[in-house]
């Protein structure tokens, strides 16, 4: 269980300001979805939270200690990151890729010990890919690869899991499978989760708290019902939508309203 405080954080790349004065407090064990249009700063915020980008102003505190001052290795022992996809140019097996997650815990010249092996086996089992262990990573489908990357992140024994649009390239079955797994880890192990999400409906279904970014600022922060209102979505995404209710869970369900003359002929 670990908390993350984001205090008055601004960040700019050389070509301009990307995040303005972000103030967020992520409690231990929370599961937070970051939403916003392309270029709103979701990915930048994930990278800041992972410590690989340093804020131009403000500070991030991981359980009270300043993230910028921690070594990469100690950060990697509490935070794992799952990006949209990884390209691996060499023919690693699935087991070898998951093994990479143990690197923050291994000394040079050392071999993985029984504990490391147990974490690898557990991670493969949790994600449900034990039978893929000896397969080559580059021969798997996109959905299977993303599961392997998730297993690698879990082998890192993270206390905070960051996901950057983890299901954006996947089919609906894999999207649901991965989000349900993350949800389960959050519930069972108290894993703190922050995920940038593209799909508003999936975000509403699987996250308790949503943070909506626009132009590098937080414009809404709360439960799906509080954040995903018709007016706000229209304003932030410049899209015409109607917000209803999910038939079984009751969370907001967003339906796109096309312009009349742009629809298909009946």
């Amino acid at each position: 269980m670990i908390s993350l405080q984001i205090r008055q954080v601004s960040f700019s790349y050389l070509n301009g300001l990307v995040l303005h004065n972000i103030d967020l407090s992520i409690k231990a064990g929370e599961m937070v979805g970051l939403l916003g249009p392309n270029g709103s700063g979701k990915t930048t915020l994930i990278k800041l939270a992972s410590g690989i980008l340093k804020p131009t102003q403000g500070e991030l505190k991981l359980d009270g200690s300043n993230l910028s001052r921690l070594s990469r290795r100690s950060v990697a022992r509490s935070i794992a990151v799952v990006p949209q996809q990884f390209h691996i140019p060499f023919a690693f097996t699935v087991g070898e890729v998951v093994m990479l997650g143990r690197i923050p815990f291994l000394r040079a010249f050392a071999e993985e010990n029984e504990i490391d092996k147990r974490f690898i086996t557990n991670a493969l089992e949790l994600v449900g890919i034990s039978k893929l262990r000896e397969r080559r990573f580059d021969e798997l489908s996109g959905g299977e690869r993303q599961k392997v990357i998730l297993a690698m992140a879990l082998a890192q024994q993270p206390k905070l899991l960051l996901l950057d649009e983890p299901v954006v390239h996947l089919d609906i079955a894999h999207q649901v499978e991965i989000l349900e797994l993350v949800r389960r880890l959050n519930g069972e192990q108290g894993l703190t989760v922050i995920a940038a999400m593209h799909d508003l409906n999936l975000a509403a279904l699987y996250f308790d708290r949503l943070v909506l970014l626009n132009g590098g600022r937080v414009v809404a922060d709360g439960t799906p019902a509080q954040v995903l209102t018709e007016g706000r979505i229209r304003e932030v995404f410049s899209a015409s939508v109607s917000v209803g209710q999910h038939p079984t869970t009751g969370v907001p369900h967003i339906v796109v309203m096309p312009k009349r003359d742009a629809t298909k002929k009946q």
């Binding site: 070898e96 990479l100 690197i103």
Partner: protein, 292 residues
């Protein structure tokens, strides 16, 4: 008499060949792992050319080529190799990525420039230094020019130290398979470790070039063959490539010495005849891997 030939001439040369092969193969693994690209051999990305220019300059300095004088050759070769790899890397880097195609182009252009400078230096100094065409060719095509134990006393510690140092970075190189960002997520201090790995690769290249000139394709063929048979885990790939590279150059050098005896073929001719077709094969079969 026979014993003297074996211990004072043949054995140092065999060990020299093994050192050259082990150093180049290890440098190949380092560059390929760091740059995530199976074609980054020290010869192809320009490191060898840089080392060769440095070695040429050092050899032409008016210092006696005795023990101390020879010690200067690897130092100058290392300096120029490191400068070259940093130059090529930065020329090839586009928006935070280092595509294989721009790396090959930058390596080609920089190598061509360095070869031109080297040729100019050699020709302008040839009379004063009494260089004959055969020795110039030998250097440019690669020739294990170990004639006694003196050179090995300098080179062997560098190569062995470099190989052990490279093995230290096995986990780092495995992490770099995910790219620089992915490596950072696994706790690697990317900028620092990248410089250390490039530095080690340059050191190994420089050590090899100092005693053999430009032996091409060893750093390309050997890591690939080992990866195909033993897998891409750098903990195994690094030591296995060092061994296989050493064996490869020793055998190539044996062929070079005996095929047209008493004329010696430069060993680089033998490695190129094996390596170039292999490179073309790779180029045609790894197109997919350009796209990252």
């Amino acid at each position: 008499m026979d014993e003297t030939i074996i211990f004072q001439i043949r054995l140092p040369r065999v060990i020299g060949g093994a050192m050259v092969g082990a150093a180049l193969a290890t440098a190949g693994v380092l560059f390929q792992g760091l740059l995530r690209n199976p074609m980054a051999d020290p010869y192809i990305i320009g490191t060898s050319a840089g080392a060769a220019l440095g070695a040429t300059i050092a050899m032409m300095l008016p210092i006696n080529l005795a023990f101390l004088g020879f010690g200067l050759v690897p130092v100058a070769a290392f300096g120029c190799a490191l400068a070259t790899v940093i130059l090529v890397y930065n020329l090839a880097r586009v928006g935070g990525k280092t595509p294989i195609i721009s790396m090959l182009l930058a390596g080609f252009v920089v190598s061509a420039l360095l070869f031109a400078i080297m040729a100019f230096l050699m020709l302008s100094m040839s009379e004063r230094l009494d260089l004959d065409l055969h020795s110039v060719y030998s250097f440019l095509f690669g020739h294990v020019s170990v004639t006694g134990w003196g050179q090995l006393a300098v080179i062997a510690p560098l190569v062995i130290g470099g190989i052990i140092g490279a093995r230290f970075f096995a986990f780092h190189l495995n992490a770099f398979s995910l790219g620089e960002e992915g490596a950072a997520y696994l706790g690697i201090e990317v900028e620092r470790d990248k410089m250390l790995i490039l530095g080690l690769g340059s050191l190994l290249t420089a050590a090899a070039v100092s005693i053999s000139g430009l032996v091409g394709f060893v750093g390309l063929v050997v890591p690939h063959a080992v990866r195909l048979s033993l897998g891409p885990d750098h903990r195994i790939l690094l030591p296995a490539s060092a061994l296989a590279g050493g064996a490869f150059v020793v055998i190539a050098d044996l062929l070079a010495r005996t095929l047209l005896a008493p004329v010696e073929i430069p060993v680089g001719v033998v490695t190129a005849i094996i390596g170039a077709p292999f490179f073309i094969y790779l180029l045609r079969h790894t197109r997919r891997e350009y796209a990252f």
